[in-house]
Symmetry: C2
Subunit: 147 residues, 2 copies
């Protein structure tokens, strides 16, 4: 239900948050997130245009978050690359009623709203801070001290 692009964008941003505020090169992000490098660069370009990250060319350059992980929600990232398509008017396009949705589409939109809400309520900092055995992104880099 979530596109590959959204998945990749989230992985990249979570990795950047994990290393924040140090910039990471596309190569580094690709290696850590297991995202195809060439495609990742396109996804990052999108995040760049949406002002989620900023990039810097040349030696020592790379990509870094614009805001701090505690100020950035999952929804911010998702909306940047592929906004959740809420149903705002009848998909059949009939004008027999204005903005009012029929019961079917009302329920579909409610489901979309619940996803939006869940994503809006979680910051990247929270994702990283969560106590768990599995580090975000499931990298090998496990915390050996806890086990």
């Amino acid at each position: 239900m979530f596109s590959q692009t959204v998945e990749y964008a989230l992985r990249a941003v979570v990795h950047l948050a994990d290393r924040s505020p140090a910039p990471q090169t596309t190569d580094q992000i690709a290696a850590a997130t297991l995202v195809p490098k060439a495609y990742l660069s396109k996804v990052i370009q999108g995040l760049c245009r949406a002002k989620i990250v900023q990039s810097k060319r040349g030696v020592g350059g790379g990509v870094a978050l614009v805001k701090s992980p505690s100020e950035l929600t999952i929804l911010d990232v998702v909306n940047a690359v592929e906004p959740i398509a809420r149903i705002r008017h009848c998909p059949l396009g009939l004008k027999t009623h204005g903005v009012r949705l029929c019961p079917l589409h009302r329920r579909m939109d409610n489901a979309l709203a619940s996803v939006e809400d869940a994503f809006r309520q979680t910051t990247l900092a929270e994702v990283l801070a969560e106590p768990t055995q599995s580090h975000p992104l499931c990298e090998q880099r496990t915390k050996t001290k806890t086990r």
Copy 2:
């Protein structure tokens, strides 16, 4: 976020439920739901294989629901044409931990679960029974008595 196919399938099934238990021809369904007729027939074939509807050829034939609207949930229909892809293991494929999801994917899966739950809790009968000015599918066929 929901594919066209899912949208079309739901429209078709809601229309069938609305006319239940009378069978409807593909032409009739297409006209009522504003779904491209040729594509709709493919979608219906899928619903047929999933035993959501049954079809009958020849004069007087058509498509009808297998179960009654009160026994059929939105989730049943969605799962028939394009099951909600829950995240059951780490998308990165690493085996550093078993079935445990990292915080990021845990949250994404929770969002999917909330959609699944919402769809599981609604039967087609409920969609049709809901008191509203706008009839399901937003058809012209409005209830003129309420306004």
